[in-house]
């Protein structure tokens, strides 16, 4: 390594002599630009997004995808193995598992997106209050500490045991359990942003707090919140399946993946397909959302990408 220190602007005579044109060993191919280029650089977003779109398509167009009425009983057709007539077989009441699984995508996605949305909005609000109102901060954070000490699925179970099973109540129960995580994240971001020179400058020039929040704080919480929201969405879909599976979730009349598995549980040693088809769909959907989350994290925060 050359260690001669040259004054700024000076050119070492050796380096001039060496500066022969580089041979094009690696032909630089210009990478794809625009949206395609973005997906090209972040394959996890492409794969996760694609799988999620497929699931969304299934959920929205379930009635037109060669399904039957998912709640129609057919006692004569009980527990038939998968065949041309019933692609995923039938359950112990003769209902078509294929139709039930496809309709089940609706519940999972509604719960996932619902919980992600509501816990983000409420957590954002609590986090902002906590980060800006000093006297409220320690009270709020102690409450959040307490809430986080209750394993979230148990908190949801307790809430569901006290309310009637419905999709809305499932969303509510899981949202309550997820709020502490979001509010802690937002509070952390707010506290670090408050130390930034541009926020100091804004305060010094007399900007009112709501404007500071709107212009300087909120835009910066967007990236970490988006990443967090995808993980919450994945966690919520698993939580819904768990709640329904143990009988504390959506009412049995609504076909959700957890319910289908719960109904297949008694027969799973002889008719494993009733459990496995919804299980596969659930796993793929959660995987899709997690991949999307990983990809978003890498693309929105390149510093984190190298570490975890």
């Amino acid at each position: 390594m050359s260690t001669t220190i040259l004054p700024p602007g000076a050119v070492s005579p050796k380096s001039v002599a060496k500066a022969a044109p580089m041979p094009d060993i690696l032909a630089t191919r210009s990478p794809p630009k625009g949206f395609v280029g973005y997906l090209w650089r972040h394959p996890t977003i492409a794969v996760g997004g694609f799988l999620l779109l497929v699931m969304l398509f299934i959920a929205v167009f379930a009635p037109w995808l060669w399904t039957k009425d998912p709640t129609a009983l057919a006692p004569v057709m009980r527990t038939r193995n998968p065949s041309a007539a019933a692609w995923f077989g039938t359950d112990m009441l003769g209902r078509d598992v294929y139709s039930r699984v496809l309709y089940g995508a609706r519940v999972s996605l509604i719960v996932g997106f619902g919980v992600a949305f509501f816990s983000s909005v409420i957590g954002l609000f609590i986090g902002l209050v906590s980060g800006f109102v000093r006297w409220a901060d320690s009270i709020i954070m102690r409450i959040m500490d307490g809430l986080m000490s209750i394993p979230s699925i148990l908190l949801a179970i307790a809430l569901m045991a006290l309310t009637r099973g419905s999709v809305g109540n499932v969303i509510l129960a899981i949202t309550v359990a997820e709020i502490p995580r979001v509010s802690r994240l937002v509070r952390g971001v707010v506290l670090s942003l408050r130390e930034q020179p541009y926020v100091d400058a804004a305060i010094a020039s007399g900007t009112r707090t709501p404007v500071i929040i709107w212009r300087h704080i909120l835009p910066n919480t967007l990236a970490p919140m988006t990443v967090q929201a995808t993980y919450i969405c994945a966690a919520a879909m698993i939580a819904e399946a768990i709640l329904s599976f143990i009988g504390a979730g959506t009412p049995p009349i609504i076909p959700s993946w957890g319910n289908i598995m719960a109904e297949g549980r008694a027969l799973w040693q002889v008719k494993p397909y009733i459990v496995f088809f919804p299980a596969i769909f659930l796993s793929i959907t959660v995987l899709a959302v997690n991949l999307l989350g990983d990809g978003l994290r890498d693309s929105l925060d390149p510093r984190l990408a190298k570490r975890v």
Partner: protein
């Protein structure tokens, strides 16, 4: 040091108080009339009133809370609506299988995850690193009960290596006890293992860049000594922290794993209590699990000084 331990232990009291307050208040903040929900659809108005009185919903909130806390401090978690047995006795009958499952899972997860994470960090960017990362993403995404059914179907039903379901108390022999717990522990520990492996890898990557690692290599320390003695020791604090936080995953997952593998533990008790709408039992189990979780994390906090002598309080 001693003063720190005392302060840290005292600091858990408000957290536990908030947990208790919240678990208690659920009865009041839940939408609708909990007494009617618990009584079920076929209940007469008299039944609803009886349950309302037995839950104390007809008396002032603060007085009720005071009495309830006082009884908990005396070791009384109330009486089950369904069986009329004390909740503490019902919990005592079911605690062994759950505790066994947790301990085996914890041991298995740490034994697999930490070496995997270390190797992934050491061979960062290689196929083994990618494999560990793929394994961890998959494990995060496949829910506990799905893994449970797959394992049970293949290893118990098809290959007949393990019993399909059930539990054998440890008093009937460690071998049989363990044989029954292997599949549930692997199913339950999946996401947890992935979590620990990921954090181990990330922390080790950072530690391996430090000057003292280069010094250790320069003085001729072997690869294994550098990785496991110099690096892992310095990476211990975040790893131990995530092991503690992740226990929440195990607690939530145990409820499901126990119903998949028909293990008669606290998880089964919870599920049965949900079906019977036996709220005092649910409340008791949640309190117990939450206190256990707070306690585990307290111990983890106190263990920091063992791993990092620089941490002085």
């Amino acid at each position: 040091m001693f003063a720190y331990i005392v302060r840290r232990v005292l600091a858990t009291i408000p957290v536990m108080a908030i947990v208790a307050l919240f678990v208690f208040s659920l009865l009041y903040i839940a939408p609708g009339d909990p007494a009617a929900v618990i009584a079920g659809d076929q209940a007469t108005p008299a039944d609803v009133e009886r349950i309302r009185a037995s839950l104390g919903l007809d008396r002032p909130y603060l007085i009720r809370f005071g009495e309830w806390v006082w009884r908990i401090l005396q070791g009384d978690l109330g009486t089950s609506i369904f069986t009329n047995l004390p909740v503490t006795r019902m919990i005592a009958q079911r605690i062994e299988p759950t505790l066994s499952l947790m301990v085996v899972t914890l041991g298995l997860a740490i034994a697999i995850a930490v070496p995997l994470g270390v190797i992934a960090a050491w061979k960062s960017g290689s196929w083994i690193d990618r494999l560990v990362m793929v394994f961890s993403v998959l494990n995060f995404s496949v829910p506990v009960f799905v893994v449970g059914y797959l394992l049970a179907y293949y290893f118990a039903l098809q290959l007949d290596w393990f019993p399909v379901q059930g539990y054998t108390p440890i008093s009937e022999g460690v071998g049989r006890w363990l044989q029954n717990l292997v599949l549930p522990a692997v199913a339950l520990g999946g996401g947890y293992t992935a979590l620990i492996a990921r954090i181990t890898r990330a922390t080790m990557l950072e530690v391996l860049q430090q000057d003292y690692i280069r010094t250790a290599r320069a003085k001729g320390a072997g690869q294994r000594t550098v990785l496991f003695l110099h690096a892992l020791k310095n990476a211990a604090v975040p790893i131990v922290t995530v092991i503690g936080i992740g226990v929440a995953l195990l607690i939530g997952g145990a409820v499901v794993t126990e119903s998949v593998f028909a293990i008669p533990g606290l998880g089964r008790l919870t599920v049965d209590a949900i079906l019977r709408r036996d709220y005092p039992v649910i409340q008791g189990v949640i309190l117990l699990f939450s206190f256990a979780y707070v306690l585990v994390n307290l111990l983890i906090d106190l263990s920091y000084t063992l791993f990092d002598p620089r941490i002085r309080y």
